[in-house]
Amino acid sequence: MDNDSSTPTAAGPVPAKQHIRKMPVNWWLKKPAYLRYMVREITCLFVGGYAMFLLMLAARLDKPEAFETLLASPLAIGLQWVALPFAIYHSVTWFNLTPKVLVIWRGEDKLPGFLIAGAHYAGWLAVSAGLVYFAMSGGTDG
């Protein structure tokens, strides 16, 4: 907040001393919206972490006991419970932003954002139910 510098520019007179303000390292604590953004970005650690957990499960697919031990590990369960709210926050923020990336025009009007986000939410519900059903369907029950 206290170092000044002079920057000559191509056009016009060389300006007098300018004051350059440094960005504070904790800028993301200065405004709720920035904090929400930072939490959204940090969800990637839990998303990546769970992907690694899936990789560990994949490595144990042919070893029934190791597979079961990993799933029963209190540490693994605890970490997943920490990751779950972040994963849900990722889903919610991700779907909420879809209308900005996916813009569909119908003549002079944009398809309303809530329809695009809403379609994603509906898909999320269906896919989640499908995944749980799929996971329950296997094994002894057929």
Partner: protein, 110 residues
């Protein structure tokens, strides 16, 4: 200025974000609650996951979210003011994603 090759990484980031957004909460619910709570037998889940379709899905669920992580976390570091070491950081993060993808493909598909 030159056009960036970011589209390659951004596409993988977006695909990973999509896969994680749609599948991860339910998947965590299964592995962290339903199996430990006895709603699903661990061995049943193992058999479901061994199905060829599951194997393909698992490769996607491991690979793409890791590219999502690599891309997003690279920018988190910039957000936190770490502006140097851009190339080594990119190689380390995307390298982790590439390495894990190869591992997953080998474990699940070979």
């Amino acid at each position: 200025m030159a056009r960036s090759n970011e589209p390659a990484f951004w596409s993988l980031f977006s695909a990973g974000g999509m896969v994680a957004a749609f599948l991860f909460p339910a998947a965590i619910f299964i592995t962290a609650y339903m199996v430990p709570a006895g709603k699903i037998e661990a061995d049943n889940l193992r058999m479901v996951m061994s199905h060829p379709i599951s194997r393909l899905l698992l490769v996607a669920m491991i690979s793409l979210p890791l590219f999502h992580w690599a891309h997003r976390f690279r920018f988190v570091l910039v957000d936190l003011g770490i502006k140097g070491f851009k190339l080594p950081i990119a190689i380390l993060f995307y390298g982790t994603a590439v390495g894990s993808t190869i591992c997953a493909a080998y474990l699940l598909l070979v």
